[in-house]
């Protein structure tokens, strides 16, 4: 069994989030009064990442940033084929998204289908000024024409590998590893 390869450690993740926050601020902070910024994390791991980004941005711009969470289960395009019914988590968007600058946050951008679902779901909540996408890792291999606006790290992996993101909030540790897929028996 080959060893897991750690591609990001705690310090890397912290630095990446600082950099992403900086890019977001430079793009959007001059609009903060006309079109307030709102950060929305996609369940599961997009939520803690979004919380961290929110904290960093609030500290720098000294303004409260709106925050929400999105569960895309009910908008999935594969509900008939995924097997056991996915657990429906909470969507919590307690503000009107119309006119806002929405920063959508997820951990890994892969096929683009999650983001497609998220965009459809957000459209049912209102009409934001714009929606931008922030991801910790872009691993390529898109199946839909969707790209991120802010990417932490580009990462191409082999067919038989998977990317495993672990965050303190849910896994007790901050790290991103590349693992070999377990062989199906």
């Amino acid at each position: 069994m080959p060893k897991d390869k750690v591609i990001l450690n705690q310090k890397d993740i912290k630095n990446i989030l600082e950099t992403l926050a900086g890019k977001i601020i430079s793009q959007l902070s001059n609009e903060i009064r006309t079109n307030p910024m709102a950060i929305i994390g996609i369940h599961r791991l997009g939520v803690p990442l979004a919380q961290r980004l929110k904290a960093i941005i609030e500290k720098r711009v000294k303004e409260k940033i709106l925050f929400g969470t999105l569960d895309i289960t009910l908008y999935r395009d594969d509900l008939n084929t995924v097997g056991p019914s996915p657990i429906v988590k909470d969507t919590d968007i307690s503000f009107d998204i119309t006119g806002k600058n929405i920063i959508l946050v997820d951990d890994v951008l892969y096929t683009g289908r999650t983001i497609r679902s998220a965009l459809n779901e957000l459209a049912d909540f209102g009409r934001p000024k714009r929606i931008q996408l922030t991801v910790l890792i872009d691993r390529g291999e898109r199946e839909l024409p969707i790209q991120a606006d802010y990417v932490g790290r580009l990462c191409k992996i082999k067919q038989d590998e998977i990317i495993d993101v672990k965050l303190k909030e849910s896994d007790g540790v901050d790290e991103v590893v590349i693992r070999k897929k377990r062989n199906r028996i």
């Binding site: 569960d71 009910l74 509900l79 995924v82 056991p84 429906v88 988590k89 909470d90 049912d124 909540f125």
Partner: protein
Amino acid sequence: MKSEKKGFVWGHKHLLGLEYLTAQEITHILDTGESFKEVSRRNIKKVPTLRGKVVVNMFVEPSTRTRMSFSLAAKRLSADIVDFSPSLSSLSKGETVKDTARNIEAMGVDIVIIRHTAPGTAHMLSRIINASVINAGDGAHEHPSQGLLDIFTIRQKKGEIKGLKVAVVGDILHSRVARSNIWGLTKLGAEVIAVGPPTLIPEHIRDLGVRVSYDLDAVIPEIDVINILRIQLERQRSKFFPTVREYARLFGINSERLKRAKEDVLIMHPGPINRGVEITPDVADGKHSVILEQVANGLAIRMAILYLVKTAISE
């Protein structure tokens, strides 16, 4: 309130009764219902989850609440829903329920919601058709969606079911709501007390782990939740009790009686209410009453049920 369940897999294609579910499965439905409550607060109260799926309301017995609630739940999940009314259908021409259901299924239906006067109808259907079957009440047997929404409402108000004392008051004998409540609540660790006149409490109910009391006033001080069943006036001809007035005096919930109850007692009723019989109007509309919240919660629970039976892999 919500519990994350590692490795838990929902595997029921049908919902036939709470008797057949584990405590964990019941909790999973409640948790899923919790997530669906949020959809009803949205500006656009609709999600595309069951788009292109067909749901049939097959109610061979009258119903307002349950049928409307299931219809609305299906619509909020973007399913197409067809209502089937027995008086206008071939059932009145003598076609059997089996044949009717098979014919309906041949039109490409995904979920059949069935209410019938005969206990076991939902079970029978689940064995002969491929669509998912949801029991919306089968005689005096079970009414699982009502049981679930009652438990959901109690959990919301009390935080936890375990350790609660829940009185189910009234016509236990004819009540499917009582049976579903008893199965669900006892599985989750509550104590259920069946209260009513001896003629309306079957002796075998004790076998389900239920305490029986014929004296409401004796048990009222210790109770956390009172779930009041409708006195089925249409059955009064069979004389299960002398007069409606006497019933109201002995088992009706009124404000005088409630003075001796716990400060935070919950008053529930599955509807339709006979005001002045099993419950007085001031109690039905009073501060302890969660009757309308039950109705609102019913929608979320039924969305959860439709979602779960349709996305289950296998029974």
